[in-house]
């Protein structure tokens, strides 16, 4: 893309006039496009993306992220800013088309930014219903921490096909996961839930799963003895979800759990024989580094296999598998932390139920309840 055609932003539009204002803006932009390319603009939208934020200080960054995202995956963006200083709801609108290097235009998108007082959160479903793009999927992303048990949260979910939160931004991630599991399990809206904390650990899941792909390693997948995950607080939720994913996929049965400031330990049993498995979540002091390593020990009969995946400094990880009768398998792979924009883009590409995520979330909720019961 080489350029961006941008019909000027209009601000402070009363909500009742947003639809007409947007039509007018598209008419202006269409004639501009036609002047540049001798053809009217084409618009191939893929979804409506609703983002709700009460983080006043980061609105600018959120706005930039969304504009970049919509340029890549053309969508209608509805950005709701919950602002305690706002007395009367109002909107700003943008319409954009990108110009390609070949003098054609690429994708088009528009943004409706609505500022409203937090107590008017119940008005959001109606505004979404008016402005969303027909039968295209509606994704609702709740940015930042919110009360997952509040009626406002439930109300918004009624207009979402997929609801996305980011439990990494919550003060108590384990409790947030428990509440989210409860919400998704009890809401009658049929909304599909997701969590950017889950999307963030995709590469970790992929690398762990790959370790068990060779036929010779499959038997070890059902004979795991210990799992150690080292992380720091910037990815607490991700570490819990990663452990919960392994627990749910491997059919481990939690027995008890303990926690201290530096570690959480889950003890479980596996298989018909009830072999003991320990899952350790070790809090690392290296701030801002997220999940640092995953080490898995498995024992099948007299054979032992060790899997270790650890992050290097330069956006790569080293994945190592040691198993009997094989030379040590080691490779360095690209493993950069995806920026928020990429995480949301990944969410927009998926529209099917994520049963594996739901299972992991349930396992996390169970982990939380066991810890509470042993506290």
């Amino acid at each position: 893309m080489t350029g961006l055609l941008d019909a000027n932003q209009r601000q402070n539009i009363p909500l009742a006039e947003v639809h007409d204002a947007l039509q007018q803006k598209w008419a202006t932009l269409s004639s501009e496009i036609e002047q540049h390319t001798s053809a009217p603009p084409m618009r191939a939208n893929t979804s409506t993306l609703v983002v709700i934020t009460d983080q006043g200080s980061s609105v600018g960054a959120t706005r930039n992220t969304l504009h970049q995202l919509a340029a890549a995956i053309p969508s209608r963006i509805l950005l709701f800013i919950l602002d305690p200083m706002c007395a009367v709801p109002s909107a700003s609108i943008w319409a954009h088309c990108t110009l390609t290097s070949r003098g054609r235009h690429g994708g088009c998108y528009d943004v409706i930014e609505v500022t409203l007082p937090p107590e008017r959160v119940a008005a959001i479903p109606n505004i979404v219903a008016v402005h969303r793009l027909g039968e295209l999927p509606t994704f609702v992303i709740w940015s930042g921490q919110t009360d997952l048990r509040a009626p406002g949260f439930e109300g918004v979910s009624t207009v979402a096909d997929r609801l996305v939160i980011d439990t990494e931004g919550f003060d108590e991630p384990l409790e947030a996961l428990r509440d989210y599991a409860m919400f998704l399990g009890t809401t009658g809206s049929g909304v599909l839930g997701s969590d950017l904390a889950w999307t963030r650990i995709s590469t970790w899941r992929e690398l762990i799963a790959q370790s068990f792909d060779p036929p010779g390693m499959r038997r070890f997948a059902t004979n795991i003895r210990s799992i150690d995950i080292a992380y720091d607080e910037s990815q607490s939720s991700g570490a819990i979800l990663l452990a919960s994913w392994l627990v749910s996929r491997l059919g481990l049965r939690p027995v008890n759990a303990t926690s201290s400031p530096s570690t959480m330990e889950l003890r479980a049993t596996a298989g018909a024989a009830g072999s003991r498995v320990t899952v350790n979540l070790n809090h690392s002091h290296r701030a801002g580094s997220g999940i640092r390593s995953v080490r898995i020990l498995a024992r099948s009969g007299a054979s032992t296999a060790r899997i270790s995946i650890f992050k290097n400094d330069a956006g790569t990880s080293t994945a190592r598998v040691e198993s009997p009768g094989m030379p040590r398998q080691e490779r360095v792979v690209q493993h950069a932390d995806p920026p928020r924009q990429e995480l949301i883009a990944a969410e927009l590409m998926r529209y099917t139920r994520r049963r594996i995520y739901e299972d992991a979330l349930s396992a996390a909720a169970q982990f939380c309840r066991i810890l509470e019961s042993h506290a």
Binding site: M42, A44, N45, T46, A71, A72, I73, P74, T100, G106, G107, C108, S202, T203, R205, E206, L207, I208, A209, Q210, F212, D213, P214, P215, R218, A221, T222, L246, R249, L250, G251, N312, A314, G315, T316, A319, R320, V321, M326, P327, Q329, E330, R331, V332, V333, Q334, H335, M349, R354, R355, I356, Y357
Partner: protein
Amino acid sequence: MDDALAQADALNPNPLREGLDIERTPVPATIVIFGASGDLTFRKLIPALYDLAYERLLPAGFSILGFAHRDFDDASFREQMRAGVEEFSRNPLDNAVWDSFSAGIHYTRGDFTIDEDYDKLARRLREIDSDRGTTGNYLYYLATPPRFYEPIIDGLAARGLENPSSEASWRRIIVEKPFGHDYQSAHELNMAISEAFDEDNVYRIDHYLGKETVRNILAFRFGNGIYEPLWNRHYIDHVQITVAESIGIEDRAGYYERSGAIRDMVQNHLMQLFSLTAMEAPVSLAADAVRDEKVKVLNAVRPMRPELVPRQTVRAQYGPGYVSGEEVAGYRDETGVATDSMTETYAALTLYVDNWRWAGVPFYLRTGKRLARRVTEVAIRFRPVPQRLFESDPTEHSAPNELVLEIQPDEGINLNFKVKVPGPTFDLRPVNMVFQYGTAFNVQLPEAYERLLLDAMLGDRTLFIRRDEVEAAWQIVDRVISGWERQGAHSIPTYHSGSWGPSEANLLLAHDGHEWRRP
């Protein structure tokens, strides 16, 4: 995925795989590239393999063994391949990823026709198995001129390298096009391959099938309910399939003089697009279910009788002209081309499919070099409305509805229909509804070779061409070639470089009251 592989995976599945974007990754294996010092390896294969490694799709232990006549050692071959990755990979060269990937790159100098050199190859493969845990899984890639295919297959078979060393390991072979020069030679090549490899382990590659947009033809046809009811003789007037190139023959005169457009493009790329467009719905997406339907429709193509070849086909050669504002030479003035060459650089033909769906619907196929611009597309022309209702519609018959599946360079789907021009009268004009992949999914599409190499390592043959498919396509093309030979012409029509082909091609459609669309 192949049924057998799916069953094997189902018996002992990886419990952590479900729900991940990537269904599975290959087991550690060695890809042996015959002709590793050539352009295909440098520009396509190694960059594609690096991209797979970068995207975390290759297992630890994955190895490459280059085998060719040029004098490299492991280090100098790696250095050479690094340059190819820097220039041609989609992803940036990451030193740490490259170091890890390139540790698995090896080279053995050898002559494809010398038996003893296959001993060296076998020794080297055993060493790699031992050092990197590739456990006897070998994927042979024939990136050589076709004359070496049989010596290589014989060389492998003579050393037992075609046979898996254990029940758990595999030996597969990828064969690059051209698959023979005609039906007979393709059949003989297939026989030679089948003496060493089961058909299940043979992967005939046509990189067109690895393109996302070619695969999307299946998604578009069979993932939407609204088109399939229209996809037949009752609603479709005719189909035009175009594979146009703006480049000339570049430095491939030696090859091109022997093949021409019909062998170079029609027998493979055009036949693939044709069969995907015309086939019936497969019962599943399993490799053989899809390929069965493709073969069925190829077999349903009405055999072209020799006396009909002049009426149903056109061949021509490019003359001088202008492409992108630059003056370019004619075909016979290209280096390495005979001044009296009769090789066609343009071919167009009309095919009829004798089945219930397509009876009477012509399929017009065309391909050529040095045409106006590079474009690949499938255009479906629908029948015009049965009654002229709008008197003021000058386009009612000249511009019927059209659906265009654009394969390259602007991947997308266009639907052309008519609307009323605003105003007091009932004037109609055609408009386009355009969907472009790039505007809806602004993501980097993987290169065709990435997808195909990965599929071959995974044992998924869906996007590879089966033996009977190759032979059925050759039977269609052979009739055209023998018809041309029967004509015994001493001259061949020419077209201006930078045009859309010879005027004779317009007559081909004019016979049926049609005309070529302007892509």
